[in-house]
């Protein structure tokens, strides 16, 4: 059950983060794009599964992600399902910066992975398309996160 996310899932997470990063500004913290992706998922999945339903899902995703990226131990899922501590991580070096980015990719991958397990690809992709209607999600391995 604790297998690493599929490359396709990781690729999708990466694309979503890149998509959100393009919409942000340069002064934002490294974790901001992760937070934006996460928050959109929280809103959408919270509507579908309820606050408690999303919170349980997110907690499981974070637990799995922590085992791969220890820096995420500073992050927690609150009672309303929001992510706490992600933006507070201030990386002193580029290496740390990359690890935080990697943590974001893994966390979102894990969330998507849980949806794939529970709902299957068709429903998961429909939900992703609904959350990011302007992004192209025709395939898991699409290289472009934004419509051209």
């Amino acid at each position: 059950m604790n297998m690493a996310p599929l490359p396709e899932t990781r690729d999708l997470a990466q694309r979503l983060l890149s998509y959100e990063a393009k919409g942000g500004n340069a002064s934002e913290s490294v974790g901001s794009s992760t937070l934006r992706v996460y928050e959109k998922m929280r809103q959408s999945l919270g509507e579908l599964a309820g606050t408690a339903g999303f919170q349980a899902l997110a907690f499981r995703a974070l637990t799995l992600a922590r085992s791969e990226v220890p820096i995420l131990r500073a992050v927690e899922v609150t009672a309303d399902g929001s992510l706490n501590g992600m933006s507070a991580i201030e990386p002193p070096t580029n290496v740390e910066r990359d690890r935080i980015h990697e943590g974001g990719v893994i966390l979102i991958s894990r969330l998507l992975g849980l949806l794939l397990i529970l709902l299957g690809e068709a429903l998961t992709m429909n939900l992703v398309r609904d959350m990011w209607p302007d992004a192209a999600h025709d395939h898991f391995n699409s290289e472009n996160g934004r419509k051209t």
Partner: protein, 504 residues
């Protein structure tokens, strides 16, 4: 007010096979409905089928989940059904969880939340699953009946068709004020009888149109809920003008005994002990129909179609060619845990598929034995309904039934189903000159002047062949142990005739 001035209520497809017929054409648009039943009775699945059948991007469906089954798990399981189209989510069908509102706030907030979402999406279909979970929580500022009342008013104004789903025991349905608000009240139940689960559906209430009353069997398969109307969906159809044409058995002497043949649309019972040729006569009846261009169905329960056709071939009846030509279907029905209604729907489907005009049920005893014990109590009633429905559209039905041979009685059947039949042909053994010979008599022919003769017949390579004009010179033929009479043939005939009448 003329008929033109009256508002026309649009009927929406339920997406549940058979249910539209039961409802009288579909679910009234903008109606406010409650689906009630015990856990696991199929309430959510039924609602999903309706939602998937009606939701569009322009007029989506909102599916509010409250406390109870997790929406994620609900979707995980529901997508296993064939009606579930993932492409409809979330654009046409939107799932919204209201658990936090129910837990943290009051019914006013729940109403506000539903109102907000309906206004935002212009929803055509709204489902609240399960609203019973809201009932269990005590509220102070707004009582539940008021909430339901306001919700119903709002959703009707917004032209939404609504389902509230609730887990209710049967005794809770009585005098529950919540149910007075509903336009439609659907009750699903399941009971275990011996080793079978019996599922029944009842439309307790449906405003604005006539639904079929009573309990209807339903089944949950990988296609979802499928309902089986007690009237087999034939009540609304125009009864054909039948009864004039006479149908041949393919046994000329028997046709003459029947005053030219059985009337089209009759129900015929061929009764007799084992080996007297009931199935042969039935196969001849079907073959004769096919010869005249009438498609036929043979429902068999005791042997497989191939064996049945091979046995018929031995009697000079070709049942293979018409099967290949689509003029004959031999249904082998060993339903095990199927209900009698489901089995009869299989027969009905086959009849409609090839537009069959003749149907043979061979035999009633096999039919009953093939049903699970829990459904046998419904056998006679369901059989009556099916015969009534099919003969009503002009199908002529021949049923065979095995009766215990008795040398002192002359019973027509052990099933007390004689009242279902317009015509009864009785076959039996008689002991004559140290031989076990066969005789037949037409016992009953509703509205017809049938022969009173008792005729000897044989089963040859050409099927049933009547070999004697009339068995005269015997007394007590129907007892099975006749004695030679010294009386004249007319005197003997009168004696036999009065004996037959006495037994009937």
């Amino acid at each position: 007010m003329s008929a033109q001035d009256k508002v026309e209520i649009n009927k929406l497809p339920t997406g549940v096979p058979g249910l539209d017929d039961i409802m009288g054409g579909g679910l009234p648009e903008f109606s406010f409905n409650i689906i009630a039943g015990a856990p696991g009775s199929g309430k959510t699945t039924l609602a999903h089928q309706f939602v998937f059948a009606n939701a569009t991007p322009e007029r989506p469906a909102l599916y509010f989940t409250v406390l109870g089954e997790s929406a994620l798990k609900m979707l995980r399981y529901q997508q296993q059904y064939t009606f579930f189209d993932p492409a409809k989510l979330p654009e046409s069908i939107r799932f919204i969880n209201l658990s936090h509102v129910v837990l943290e706030k009051d019914l006013g907030a729940v109403l506000e939340e539903i109102t907000k979402e309906v206004e935002k999406t212009n929803a055509a279909v709204v489902v609240v699953d399960s609203f019973r979970s809201m009932v269990r929580k005590p509220y102070s500022d707004m009582d539940l009946q008021s909430f339901i009342q306001r919700l119903a008013l709002f959703l009707a104004s917004w032209q939404a068709t609504t389902f509230l789903i609730g887990e209710y025991a049967e005794d809770e349905l009585r005098e529950n004020p919540i149910f007075t608000v509903a336009d439609g009240l659907f009750w699903l139940r399941q009971t275990a009888e011996r080793n079978s689960v019996v599922r029944k559906l009842q439309i307790i209430k449906l405003r604005g149109q006539a639904s079929v009353p009573g309990l209807h069997t339903f089944r949950i398969t990988n296609a979802g809920v499928q309902a089986f109307s007690r009237t087999f969906g034939l009540t609304a159809r125009v009864k054909n003008l039948v009864g004039q044409r006479r149908l041949s058995f393919g046994v000329p002497d028997l046709d003459r005994m029947l005053d030219g043949g059985v009337r089209e649309g009759d129900s015929i019972l061929v009764a007799g002990p084992s080996g007297t040729g009931k199935s042969v006569l039935a196969a001849q009846f079907i073959a004769e129909g096919i010869k005249g261009g009438e498609a036929g169905i043979i429902a068999v329960f005791e042997e497989r179609p191939q064996a049945y056709a091979e046995r018929a071939a031995g009697l000079g009846l070709d049942l293979e060619t018409p099967q290949n030509d689509g003029k004959l279907t031999i249904l082998y029905l060993r339903p095990l845990d199927l209900s009698v209604d489901e089995t009869m729907h299989s027969i009905l489907d086959a009849v409609q598929k090839i537009d069959a005009r003749r149907l043979v049920i061979d035999s009633l005893a096999g039919f009953e034995m093939a049903l699970s014990p829990g459904f046998r109590a419904d056998f006679r009633e369901s059989l009556y309904r099916m015969i009534f429905a099919l003969t009503g559209i002009g199908v002529t039905i021949l049923s065979t039934v095995e009766v215990d041979e008795s040398f002192t009685e002359f019973p027509f059947s052990t099933y007390s189903i004689s009242f279902l039949c317009d015509d009864i042909i009785r076959l039996r053994y008689v002991s004559i000159d140290d031989q076990l010979r066969k005789v037949m008599a037409v016992i009953k022919m509703r509205g017809g002047n049938h022969a009173k003769d008792i005729r000897e017949y044989e089963i040859t390579s050409k099927g049933v062949v009547i070999v004697d004009q009339r068995l005269t010179g015997y007394q007590g033929l129907i007892s099975g142990l006749p004695v030679r009479s010294n009386r004249s043939p007319r005197e003997v005939w009168s004696s036999n005739d009065s004996e037959t009448k006495k037994q009937t």
